[in-house]
Amino acid sequence: MAAVDLDGVSVRFGPIHAVRDVSVHVADGAFFTFLGPSGCGKTTLLRAVSGFVEPSAGAIRIGGQDMTGIGPHKRPTALVFQNLALFPLMPVWQNIAFALEVRGVGRAARRKRADELLELIAMPGHGDRMCHELSGGQRQRVAVARALAAKPAVLLLDEPLSALDRNLREHMRGELRAIQRRVGVTFIYITHDQGEALAMSDQVAVMRQGAVLQVADARTLYDRPHSAFVASFVGENNVFPGTVTALDSNYATVATKAGLLRAKPDEKLRVGDAALVFVRPEAIRFAPSEDVENRMAATVAASAFEGNLWRVFLELAGDLRVTATRVHAEAGSDGEDAGRVVIGFSARRAVALPEGPLAAE
């Protein structure tokens, strides 16, 4: 078990700057996730940690020890590959015990360890199957077990759930988290699925174009994003562009097409700056009480029933579009809102951030 420190790590492939100056501390025994859109350099960063790619600048330390010049087979890391990379010609138990085989452990001891790990991943008795005889989720777990067999200090997982269907993916989130708790190994996890990141991780680093924008636990990331990109990439958000007209100790006032809005400001904001106000769909209230600071008139354009909740699409003055969600049980009798409504949201639930690129772009 060991902490991992990335210290100004950059990776270049010729003209492509795949990873830019990443400095992150991953605590010992943490479940740490790198989250970012496709092509932002997540895999490259992970390959740098596991030793397949040499950083062109910066240093990687595992358990305090500098890894520069140490090959992948000598690092205390184990990688669960994006495509799993199980060995098709070996039965499951030999796959799992491969790390022991190459260390010269005897056959009986290998088998024993493999059976223990099969127990850990809740697949006892599957040792003599071939990999192609397993289901997707089982293969997934075998890949994790194989990586754990070497007793690595750090387990690296590269979008291990992306090949699974939705239900299985959600199930495996819990499994992985449970396995991590049981073995206590540091997990570094990669995904472009923000739901996955929020559900599993102790800490999440959001990446964009090779750089890390923010490192925080899931709640902070969701409630207090530091940049427009993070606010729009992590979870769903409504955006009101505008200009900061006033700042006081707790709140900023932003002039938008929907009127003056009050929101919690980012510390970088100054009066006169272009700003974006972000509000989560679930923070929007229908027919809000008088103490809700931000109120506006809207027209219901459409609404969609999603089982546990309704998603309501609203149009505001000045061509603004807003999405709100209402829990099914709290919605109106027929569940649908129609026509003109008044909506509002509390200043505590809104954030004002400096203008910047959004995730959709």
Binding site: R47, G51, F52, V53, E54, P72
Partner: protein, 317 residues
């Protein structure tokens, strides 16, 4: 494949990545084996032969001696003929060279013509048992080597062979035909010898052709001929070119089949080379002739590739 330790910047990046992947022992073995092959078996022997072809024909004791100087005499001999042939051309050998290359082109063209329908059928319309039967029937003759196949043609085309028996029997001819003198036997034998080398590249290329492309073209009202000309042949171009290049090179370089089936008055160029080595005892001249054959055949292939706009990497697939 974007695997492997990505090339780190700086000097010696490649060897480092190479050894990082294979380790010292395995990496060194790979390099030694490849080096031995490419240098000691492929490149240097060709260069040695080229060098040798510029030397006079000397007895072993005099090689490396004062008379062992560079000379063009062997190439001159090929072009001008022997001593006293001033201002004239060695029409005999040059004609043989020309005829060999032309005949090899002819063989390649005939093979293409007869193998294309078969390969198309095999790749696009034959299924299951029929396809497998065709495959087996195609391959079986090539379990025998070139000489035995040529031998079969000798039996077939002999004066009292089956072909003449049949021709005489139906009264098509009065006298037995001499298929050897007219090179009929030779060309049939060579065409036969390389059928498989033509079918397989064609088949490989055509196999990947999506049937719906043909159907789409048919649907738009194209005739069968047009479908082949505009859709199938362009698609199969890599296969066609590698098949033709191989058949051409191999028939130009064939030795056994011409030795066995060639007519009494027509030599194949390889037979002249063989004679310089064996009975003529003039190795440098044999080398010079070999180089002349190699270069003229390669030039023909390269010119053909230019003309038909084929890239090198399409060959050998």
């Amino acid at each position: 494949m974007n695997s492997g330790p990505a090339t780190p910047p700086g000097t010696f990046a490649w060897p480092r990545a190479f050894f990082a992947r294979y380790g010292a022992g395995l990496g060194a073995s790979v390099l030694v084996l490849v080096g031995f092959w490419i240098l000691a078996l492929v490149l240097v022997p060709q260069l040695a032969m080229a060098d040798f072809s510029f030397r006079p024909n000397l007895p072993p004791t005099e090689q490396g001696g004062p008379r062992d100087v560079y000379t063009l005499e062997h190439y001159e001999y090929l072009v001008r003929g022997g001593a006293g042939g001033e201002g004239e051309y060695n029409t005999v050998d040059l004609a043989v060279l020309g005829r060999t290359l032309l005949a090899a082109l002819f063989v390649a063209a005939v093979d293409l013509a007869i193998c294309y329908p078969i390969a198309f059928l095999l790749a696009q319309s034959a299924h299951g048992g029929f396809a497998r039967l065709m495959m087996v029937l195609l391959v079986v003759p090539f379990w025998l080597n070139e000489i035995l196949r040529a031998f079969a043609f000798r039996i077939l085309f002999g004066t009292s062979g089956l072909v003449n028996d049949v021709l005489l029997g139906v009264g098509a001819v009065e006298e037995p035909m001499d298929f050897f003198r007219d090179n009929v036997a030779l060309y049939s034998g060579l065409t036969y010898a390389f059928v498989l080398l033509m079918v397989f590249p064609l088949y490989n290329a055509l196999e990947h052709l999506d049937k719906s492309q043909i159907e789409a073209a048919r649907d738009m009202g194209a005739s069968w001929l047009r479908v082949h000309w505009r859709v199938v042949i362009p698609f199969a171009k890599p296969g066609i070119s590698s098949g033709c290049a191989m058949v051409f090179m191999l028939s130009a370089g064939a030795l056994a089949t011409p030795q066995i089936l060639g007519g009494p008055s027509s030599l194949w160029f390889t037979q002249i080379i063989y004679q310089w080595f064996n009975t003529g005892n003039n190795w440098p001249r044999g080398s010079a002739y070999a180089i002349a054959l190699l270069i003229s055949a390669l030039v023909l292939v390269l010119v053909a590739m230019r003309v038909f706009k084929v890239r090198l990497r399409d060959l050998g697939k």
